[in-house]
């Protein structure tokens, strides 16, 4: 099932919730994006949440807070969380903060990491 809210599209595949975010993530946009995502996560409590960021063409450190916060939220109830297909802009700031070593970062075609069903 696919649902949409602004620059965010939600897609459920079994026990996995894929959240596709596009556009620009800054302090201003993060507030609404965060509220929408949390509503979806807390309603379904999926076993796995994938935050797909391939269409994000700008992200500052507010995006780091957004990612860490969702990671914490999902981990708190025992779910798994990963960032999927980060755009170059996202990957650059993730690496700068060292978050690519703290949070699982997946690529759609990376079958070795077990996401071949996406």
């Amino acid at each position: 099932m696919i649902r949409s809210g602004g620059q965010v599209v939600y897609e459920t595949k079994g026990d996995t919730l894929v959240i596709r975010v596009g556009g620009e993530i800054d302090h201003h946009s993060a507030v609404a994006v965060r509220a929408g995502i949390d509503e979806q996560i807390l309603e379904a409590r999926p076993g796995r949440v994938l935050l797909e960021l391939s269409r994000v063409d700008f992200m500052d450190s507010s995006g780091l807070g957004l990612i860490m916060g969702r990671f914490a939220l999902v981990s708190k109830y025992g779910g798994k969380f990963a960032v999927l297909d980060p755009s170059p802009a996202v990957l650059k700031i993730l690496r700068l903060a060292g978050m690519d070593r703290m949070i699982t970062v997946l690529k759609t075609k990376d079958k070795k990491k077990g996401n071949e069903h996406l």
Binding site: E24, D26, R34, F58, M59, D60, S61, L64, A97
Partner: protein, 150 residues
């Protein structure tokens, strides 16, 4: 260690922009600075770095300097000889008690709102030099220096 940038380079063009500290203006601020800097034909990567650094500085004004109020954010952009860009982001907000501590990676006074504490680190890494002058109760001026490719 990055080479220090010459702050005394001759100014060839400049602009000023004043905005109220509303979060909706973050995008406008970085887009305006990027549009002005575009006349130097920066690479897409350089422009992305500038936009990100400006966004961090402006967000700091909104989130920290004017935490409970709305005040003026003044951006001054100077295009200098040698393809040097100097961007000042100034507020008249609460000021920073300990600038050295504020510049440390992951330091934040606003963790409950998911601030990552990486703003100054991003500015430092996406520019060639960062200077921060602040006085408690008077405000803060952040100066970003970015040297473009030849």
């Amino acid at each position: 260690m990055k080479n220090r940038v010459d702050f005394s380079a001759a100014v060839e063009n400049e602009m000023q922009l004043s905005l109220p500290s509303l979060s909706v203006n973050e995008g406008m601020a970085r887009a305006a600075v990027a549009a002005f800097c575009a006349q130097l034909n920066p690479t897409a990567l350089e422009l992305a770095d500038i936009k990100c650094a400006v966004s961090e500085a402006v967000t700091n004004c909104i989130v920290h300097a004017y935490r409970e109020t709305v005040g003026e954010i003044l951006l001054c952009v100077k295009l200098c000889e040698g393809r040097l860009i100097q961007i000042e982001v100034r507020d008249r907000g609460c000021g920073i008690a300990d600038v050295k501590q504020a510049r440390e990676p992951l330091f934040t006074t606003d963790a409950e709102n998911e601030r990552s504490g990486m703003g100054f680190t991003v500015m430092e890494n996406f520019c060639d030099e960062l200077r921060v002058r602040s006085r408690l109760g008077k405000g803060t001026t952040v100066t970003l220096l970015k040297r473009l490719h030849k």
